[in-house]
C-alpha cells in the first residue's frame, strides 16, 4: 500500500488551485468572524470557557464512576446500554441490533464517531442501505467522500458542484445551483428516506450522568425526524462526551453553537431520555483509544473537545489546505492532537502542520491547550514515529553549533561569506525550499557582534 501523503504534500496539491484555496480560506474566515461577533455579545464568555474546561477536568478525573452512574440511570430509563472497546466492537453492536430487529433500511444523523468507526462502509458491505440525513453529509455521501470538516462536512464544495451532484443523483435541473431549489430537492428526497427507515442512528453531543439522558444538537432537525419515525434509535457516543449534571448543560450549549457557526444555539437541541412506548432505544458507549489518551498526561485534555470545529475555522493552515489534507476523521488542529494517539505512524506529519500560532487554543470553548500539545506530540514523534535521518542529523548539528559560541561565530561567518560570493544559481537550488518563492536575507557588512565589539565593548 502506498503511504499516505504528508500533510505538506497534500497542502501543496490543494494550493495549486489558488482560486479554490482562497475561496476556502475566505469562507471559513467568515465563519470565524461570525463566531467573534457572537462571542462578543456574552460578557462572561471567558468565564464560560473556564467553567466548561473545569467541568471537563472533573469529568476526565472521574470518568470511571460517572460512566457507571450514567449507565445505571440510562438503564433505569429503559435504554439498552452497550459498551464498545473499539470501532470493530461498535460496528458489531450496531449490526447485531439491526439483525435482531430485522431492520433493512436506516437513516443517520451526523455523527463523527460513526465516521471514526467506519460504520457506513461496514454496513453497506453487509447489504444495508445507510442514508446520511444531514444535508452536508448526504452531499458527500453522494459524492463518495468523507467529511472535510466536522461541523460543515461539505464545506470544500462550491454551490455549482453541489448542483452537479444533485443533478446526477436527484435529477435536479442541470446547471442549477440555486440553494433554495437544491435544498428543496434534498428535502423531498430525504422525506422519503425518513418514512421508509426502520432504525435511526444518531451521535451524542452530551450524555448526562445524573439523568441517564443525552442531548443531540442539529441545525436541520434531521436527528428528530429520524428518531421520531423509526422504531429503533441507536445513539453512538464517545465516552468523553459525558457531563455530570443537567445543570452543566447550559454552559456547553451556550458555547457550542456560538463557537461553531456564530449562532446563539443550534436550531434543534433534542433531549432523549427514554424510548417511546413499544419502541427501542440503544446507547453504545465507545472507547476506541480514548482511555489510552486519558492515560497520556500531556494529551488527556484533548478529550475535553465538544466538536465545535472552531479550531478548524480559525486555523490559517486548515483554511488554506482543507480538511482532506489531514487524512484523518477529525482534521485541523484538534485532529492533529487526537489522531497521533490513534495511529502515530499514519498521522506523524500532522503535529508539524502548524506554526504553533496558538489561535486554536484561544478560540477553543473548553480551553484545550492545542498548540502546546502539538509541540509535545512533536517531541514524541521524533522518538517513536517514523525515522527522519536527515532532519535529525541537521537538528543535532544545529544544536551542537548553538552550544559552542566560537563554532557559532565561525559557522555564521562561513555561511555569510558563501552567501555573499556564491552565484545566484548555486544558492537558489532545488534543495533550498526557502528560496523557491522567497529571497534569503541580504548579507550585512558586519554582524551585531562585530559592531558591538567595535562600538561598545570595553570590558569584555
Amino acid at each position: 500500500m502506498k503511504p499516505a501523503p504528508t500533510h505538506a504534500a497534500a497542502a501543496e496539491e490543494f494550493l495549486k488551485d489558488s482560486e479554490r484555496s482562497h475561496w476556502h480560506d475566505e469562507t471559513l474566515w467568515h465563519v470565524r468572524s461570525k463566531r467573534d461577533v457572537s462571542a462578543q455579545k456574552i460578557p462572561e464568555w471567558e468565564q464560560l470557557r473556564t467553567l466548561a474546561s473545569q467541568i471537563k477536568d472533573h469529568v476526565l478525573s472521574n470518568l470511571d464512576t460517572l460512566l457507571l452512574q450514567f449507565e445505571k440511570n440510562a438503564q433505569a430509563n429503559g435504554i439498552e446500554v452497550l459498551w464498545a472497546k473499539d470501532a470493530a466492537e461498535h460496528n458489531e453492536h450496531v449490526l447485531r441490533i439491526l439483525e435482531e430487529n430485522q431492520v433493512r433500511q436506516l437513516v443517520k444523523s451526523k455523527s463523527i464517531l460513526t465516521e471514526e468507526c467506519g460504520l457506513n462502509h461496514f454496513l453497506e458491505d453487509k447489504g444495508y442501505d445507510v442514508v446520511d440525513t444531514d444535508l452536508g453529509e448526504r452531499i458527500i455521501q453522494f459524492n463518495k467522500q468523507v467529511p472535510s470538516h466536522i461541523v460543515m462536512p461539505a464545506i470544500h464544495l462550491k454551490k455549482s458542484e453541489i448542483g452537479d451532484i444533485f443533478h446526477k443523483h436527484l435529477g435536479t435541473e442541470a446547471g442549477s445551483d440555486d440553494p433554495q431549489y437544491l435544498t428543496e430537492a434534498a428535502r423531498q428526497h430525504l422525506r422519503q428516506k425518513f418514512i421508509q427507515a426502520h432504525a435511526a442512528i444518531t451521535g451524542v453531543n452530551f450524555g448526562i450522568a445524573e439523568t441517564g439522558g443525552f442531548v443531540v444538537c442539529t441545525n436541520e432537525g434531521n436527528a428528530d425526524m429520524g428518531t421520531h419515525l423509526a422504531d429503533i434509535h441507536i445513539a453512538c457516543m464517545g465516552i468523553e462526551k459525558l457531563i455530570p449534571r443537567a445543570a452543566d448543560l447550559g454552559v456547553y450549549l451556550r458555547l457550542l453553537a456560538r463557537s461553531a457557526t456564530g449562532q446563539s444555539i443550534t436550531n434543534y437541541t433534542s433531549h432523549f431520555h427514554r424510548p417511546r412506548k413499544d419502541k427501542k432505544m440503544y446507547l453504545i458507549l465507545v472507547d476506541n483509544g480514548r482511555t489510552k489518551q486519558l492515560g497520556r498526561e500531556d494529551f488527556r485534555n484533548s478529550l475535553k473537545c465538544i466538536r465545535c470545529g472552531a479550531c478548524m475555522n480559525t486555523c490559517p493552515i486548515y483554511r488554506r489546505s482543507s480538511g482532506f489534507s489531514y487524512n484523518s476523521t477529525v482534521p485541523g488542529p484538534i485532529g492533529s492532537i487526537l489522531s497521533p494517539g490513534m495511529d502515530l505512524s499514519k498521522h506523524s506529519t500532522l503535529p508539524f502542520a502548524s506554526t504553533l500560532c496558538g489561535s486554536c487554543s484561544d478560540v477553543c470553548p473548553v480551553k484545550i491547550n492545542i498548540h502546546e500539545q502539538l509541540y509535545k506530540w512533536r517531541q514524541v514523534i521524533t522518538k517513536e514515529g517514523p525515522p527522519q535521518a536527515s532532519k535529525k542529523w541537521a537538528m543535532r548539528f544545529g544544536g551542537q553549533v548553538m552550544s559552542k559560541p566560537r563554532l557559532f561565530d565561525l559557522m555564521g561567518k562561513m555561511a555569510r561569506k558563501s552567501l555573499s560570493i556564491s552565484p545566484r544559481g548555486f544558492v537558489y537550488n532545488s534543495f533550498n525550499a526557502w528560496g523557491k518563492h522567497r529571497e534569503l536575507p541580504e548579507v550585512p557588512k558586519e554582524t551585531f557582534k562585530d559592531w558591538y565589539r567595535k562600538n561598545r565593548n570595553d570590558d569584555k
Binding site: 505538506a8 512533536r378 537538528m395 522567497r438 551585531f448
Partner: protein, 245 residues
Amino acid sequence: MKVGLFIPCYVEQFYPKAAIATLELLEKAGVEVAYPLKQTCCGQPMANSGYEEFGQGASDLFRENFAEFDYVVCPSGSCTLHAKEHILSNKEGEPKLYELCEFLTDVIQIKELKSRFPYKVGLHASCHGLRGLGLARPSELMVPDFNKPLHLLEMVEDIDLVHLARKDECCGFGGTFAVFEEAISVQMGKDRIQDHQEQGVAVITGADMSCLMHLEGLLRRDKSPIKVMHIAEILNGQEPELKNQ
C-alpha cells in the same frame, strides 16, 4: 538594574540594525545594558522541530550567559517565549526575561519617545508575542483591548498606522515550518502582505524579525517597494531605506 541583551541568532547574523536599534533604545531610556558576547541561540529551532534535547546545549549556554543579570531583554517575542518556557524557570535569583516592547511598557514604563516616522505603517502581530507573551489582546479572546507594541508606535511622531482586515493572522513563518510546509507557508505570507498592501503601507513592522524576514523574502522576490523594519528601528527613529527601488 543590570540588563542583559539577548539577540536572536539570525538577528545577530543578518539583521544587526534591529539589534543596534534595540541597544540604543534601551540606552536612551537610561538602562544599564550589556551584551554578553558568548551568546548564540535559545534552542527553539531544534525544540520546535521535535528535538528538545538537541537544544539543551544552547539552553545551558543561555543560562550561563545571563546568570549575573537582573533582567534579560530580547527583541523577539518568539525567542523570549521559548526561553521563558524552556530555559528560565522563574526561580528566585534567576534573571527576569522580557521581550523588548513589554520591557519598555511594563518595566521602565516609558512615556515618550523622541522619534519621528512620517510613513504609512502596518503592524504585524507575531503570534508567539501576541498569544504566548500577551503583548496584545488576541482577537479570539473576549477581554478588554490592549496592545503594547501599538501603544509604543503611537508615541512616534507623524506615524500613520493602518488598520488591517485580519489584525492578527499568522504570517506562516513558523520556524522550520517555513521550509517543511513551504507551499502553505508561502501562501500565508502572501496573504498577509496583501492585507498590508491593500492599506497602502510603505513599511511593515513587528516585534519579531523572523516573521519579517519571511515577509521580506516574499516582498523582495516580488520586487515590491514595501520594506520591513523591526519595531525597535522605528521606535529608535531610524529612516526606512525607501530609495533604490
